[in-house]
């Protein structure tokens, strides 16, 4: 599925190690991932399999003490070899991330408007006024009602789903080439999850942004990702076109994941039918 041209992002032999009292532990082991222009790539696996560590390594936000090895090539540069100042010209600007829990990821004491515009002003050098106009546009883009009012609101005044929409708007503010979404629906109510997924899908089509979509939910993966990497114990065990993987899994682990997904789907259905 990768195009003939260089991929947008290519992770080569990434390892992440973390020091513990009983010696260093390797959380990600020699992982290769490629993301092409405009492509939506999924990372699947259970929690603790190294998906989030991979995303953190790309953004340079690994927990204190963790070390990353290998290369992460983006726009001709190895992100792992950049200084903090150089990396700061990339993250938030060329690559942005949406975290799992918008309630924790948004600053509680800053308005949505401030959080939408501060990196825009910093990276793009626009005026405050231009940034504010763009903020309203962005909120409209993510379908937040009454955006003029919403820019002045604080995160606690929003519902969970709206907070995640705002967080997505913040990530898109500088028109990044790559958007990383780390379990962006897991912390949300089941009822709003579908809306957020549709939003990602639509944004990808409208803006052409590439996406690295991380989830443990293969059903979600099926509805959004072109290609999928399946993670287990810090390494990729299977990769390919999403539908192929889901229909003809070659690795035992993938089969197990699909089975557990089927079971939880069945349970959900039983619960739904049980409701009056």
């Amino acid at each position: 599925m990768t195009t003939a041209a260089d991929p947008l992002l290519s992770i080569e032999g990434l390892s992440v190690t973390m020091p513990t009292p009983s010696g260093p532990v390797e959380l990600v082991h020699r992982t290769d991932i490629e993301i092409g222009e405009g492509e939506i790539v999924g990372l699947a696996g259970e929690s603790g399999s190294g998906k989030t560590m991979t995303a953190s390594a790309i953004m340079g936000i690994l927990p204190p003490g963790a070390r990353a090895g290998g290369r992460i090539m983006f726009e001709g540069r190895d992100l792992l070899s950049l200084s903090r100042a150089e990396l700061d010209t990339v993250r938030g600007n060329r690559i942005a991330i949406v975290f799992q829990d918008p309630s924790a990821a948004l600053h509680p004491l800053l308005t949505i408007g401030t959080q939408l515009t501060e990196h825009l002003i910093h990276h793009k050098g626009v005026t405050k006024k231009q940034a504010n106009a763009r903020a309203v546009e962005l909120l409209d883009l993510v379908r937040i009602r009454d955006p003029h009012h919403a820019v002045k609101a604080f995160p606690h005044q929003f519902s969970g789903g709206m907070r995640q929409r705002a967080a997505i708007a913040i990530a898109l503010a500088c028109e990044p080439r790559l958007l990383i979404a780390d379990e962006p629906t897991t912390a949300l109510d089941v009822t709003v999850q579908a809306g957020i997924l549709r939003l990602f899908d639509r944004l990808a089509r409208e803006t052409g942004v590439s996406m690295l979509f991380i989830t443990h939910d293969l059903g979600v993966m099926n509805s959004i990702a072109d290609r999928t990497y399946v993670f287990k114990d810090g390494t990729v065990v299977e990769s390919g076109v999403t539908t192929t993987i889901l229909n003809e899994p070659s690795h035992e682990y993938t089969k197990a994941l699909i089975a557990s997904r089927a079971q939880s789907l069945a349970e959900e259905r039983v619960q739904q039918e049980a409701r009056p």
């Binding site: 953004m59 936000i61 010209t89 938030g92 975290f99 600053h107 509680p108 800053l110 990196h119």
Partner: protein
Amino acid sequence: MPPLLKMIGKRLLSALVLLWGVTVVTFLLVNVVPGDAAAANLSQQAYDDPEIRAAFEAKWGLDQPIWVQYVRYLGNILQGDLGTSQQTHRPVAEDLGQYVPATIEIALPAMALAIVIAVGLGMLAAMRKNRPTDTGIRSAALVGLSTPPFWLALVALYVFFYLLGWVPNGGRLSNIYDPPPAVTGMYTVDAAIAGQWDVFGDALWHLVLPVGILTALTVSGLLRFVRSAMIEVLDAEYIRSAIAKGLPRRIITWRHVFRAGLLPVLTVSGLMLASLLGGAVLVEQVLSWPGLGQYAYKSAISLDLQAILGVTLFIAVVYTLINLLVDVLYSVIDPRIGAK
């Protein structure tokens, strides 16, 4: 913002209840205890004369039942009359008007300096967590917390006055100067108002040591809070978001970390200011600073009932008002509270 007003109203009400409780407790404390005010204030000869003693007790209402004394006291304080000090023979309110500004003059600058220093050092320590800078700052705070305040004042006096001669030997003004005409009761401010710049300079010079000592003590009390509050903020996910946005460190530090870490610091600072106002007693004692602490000490030693009640009531009012102010400030800074 009606919820905010409602919150303030509720706080105000509970503050009033607390203050009423304070009058009851202090009054009972001073009246039920075995100390005999007549014995403490009259000479042995006068005390032995039953007529003089009866006159003394009648004059101060000591012969009335306790609840009559209390009701009378409560009625008086509602009119701003805190009674008359047996020791200075002046209205307690007037005494407070004289001693309180002296304490404010050292407590407020000390508090302001302490907050700035503690927040700065606390943030630095939090950002360099478990590294030498952090260890150094924490050790200094620990020493400050473990030092008897009066001993610290003595050591400072020994070094900066006795050995180095940089500061005066306590007091508010050198003997050659008269106090400036009283407006605020704070010598530096009054001297500035009157344009007496030599007096101003001298008063300022006398402020250096007490303010410095109180600042050091307050910083060590605050640091721990600031550091742990800041560490908690630095660990928060929204700070990770800010880093992932590629914001410069300056903006992350001051807009994201500082603002969030300030909330808990604000609460503690309110408490510290209240205890500073009254608790400067030990430092005031060493530096012969005629402030509220010394007044409280002298009244306590001489069992000056009205004065003790006046001081405790005053401090409780200040404490309650500061807490109220902190609550209001809190809801201004933290948008989540006003909305509840």
